[in-house]
């Protein structure tokens, strides 16, 4: 496939290198003169110099073909939003992926329909939640378009759900148990699955149902 990469920082350069190695065709756009020279030594004609939010720069880089995928990975969130907006709405690039630098800007990407997005800070925060066991609910995945999220819930000895079968639980509307992990093995949760202390349960739920789910699974 043909991929256009806007932004030749660490992310852009590493992605470009990897895609080229996989045999894909890539053009990467970098604005800063010094950074451009460094990239040119490695990538030669694959890199072009310019502001990727300018239409003529994008056109010179081949956005009119259009590419199969546009990656907006500059260090500036407004630039990334504008690049994706132009790519999708003007040049009908079928897929974009945008980098979110400041997680507070995520809401703007969502509002303007720029998706999917990748945010290093948010990913690390999610990992912290996952690695630090004190937090009772671990958000594993947010399915933004579908307004659903998948969470992991550790069952403790004092959880009201401990020792009960799934069918005995009064699961709140808008929630469902997916699976139960015990001693390194997971099984799909069915009505007869019995929850035990130490289990890690995956649940899918609609936003706003967290508290009710917490009450059923965790709090007496």
């Amino acid at each position: 496939m043909y991929v256009l990469v806007a932004g030749g920082g660490k992310v852009g350069a590493n992605v470009t290198r990897t895609l080229l190695r996989q045999g894909h065709e890539v053009t990467i756009i970098e604005q800063r003169a010094e950074r451009f020279r460094v990239l040119e030594e490695e990538f030669d004609y694959v890199v072009q110099r310019g502001d990727a939010t300018e239409l003529h720069v994008l056109e010179r880089a081949g956005i009119g073909r259009p590419p199969d995928l546009m990656l907006a990975v500059t260090g500036d969130d407004e630039d990334n939003i504008v690049i994706c907006e132009i790519a999708q709405k003007r040049y009908f690039v079928p897929k974009v992926i945008a980098r979110v630098n400041d997680p507070r800007n995520q809401t703007h990407f969502d509002l303007l329909g720029v998706a999917p997005t990748v945010c290093a800070t948010s990913s690390i925060m999610a990992l912290i939640e996952h690695e630090v066991p004190e937090s009772d609910f671990i958000r594993l995945l947010q399915l933004r378009d579908d307004e659903l999220e998948i969470v992991e819930v550790p069952i403790g000895a004092d959880s009201p759900s401990s020792g009960k079968r799934v069918e005995q639980l009064k699961m709140p509307d808008g929630t469902r148990l997916i699976s139960v992990a015990r001693e390194g093995r997971s099984e799909i949760a069915t009505g007869s699955t019995k929850l035990e202390p130490g289990d890690r349960v995956l649940a899918i739920l609609q936003p706003g149902c967290e508290d009710e789910l917490r009450r059923v699974l965790l709090k007496r």
């Binding site: 939010t53 500036d76 407004e78 504008v82 509002l111």
Partner: protein, 143 residues
């Protein structure tokens, strides 16, 4: 009538002053506290230090009840994104955005944003001025 001016440089500060003169309630937002000095020594309106992309700052400015939002920070893309947020998130009726790059200004105008491009205006005025001097010269020659 109430206006929010985002970006208090030469342009934003003057627009703020003109709207104030027209008896509007004006709130000015700039991330640089020192930009207040562009409004003169006695600015009677509100001035908020903060970034125009910060939703809390926008809410604090009163954007939800604003009749107009004027976006003129020194970044084209920042202005575009703030303008889109004012329009789509806060449903402000009249959003005007300054974009220096004519191509981007034209594209986002097509997408429904009210854009003002000083570069295009200057190009038009300069070209016209040059053409006028040509006419004057040729008229002079014919006399």
């Amino acid at each position: 009538m109430k206006a929010i001016i985002i970006g208090c440089g030469r342009t934003g500060s003057s627009v703020a002053q003109h709207l104030l003169d027209a008896h509007w309630e004006v709130v000015v937002v700039d991330e640089d506290a020192e930009a207040l000095s562009n409004l003169g020594t006695r600015w009677p309106g509100r001035f908020i230090v903060g970034h125009g992309l910060d939703i809390e700052v926008l809410v604090e400015s009163g954007i939800e009840g604003a009749d107009a939002v004027v976006v003129s920070t020194d970044g084209d893309n920042t202005n575009i994104v703030i303008g889109l947020i004012a329009q789509r998130r806060f449903r402000v009726e009249r959003v005007v955005v300054r974009i220096l790059d004519p191509a981007r200004a034209a594209f986002f105008a097509e997408r429904g944003l009210h854009t003002i491009c000083p570069t295009s205006i200057a190009i038009g005025a300069l070209t016209e001025a040059a053409l006028v001097s040509e006419t004057v010269a040729s008229e002079g020659a014919s006399i």
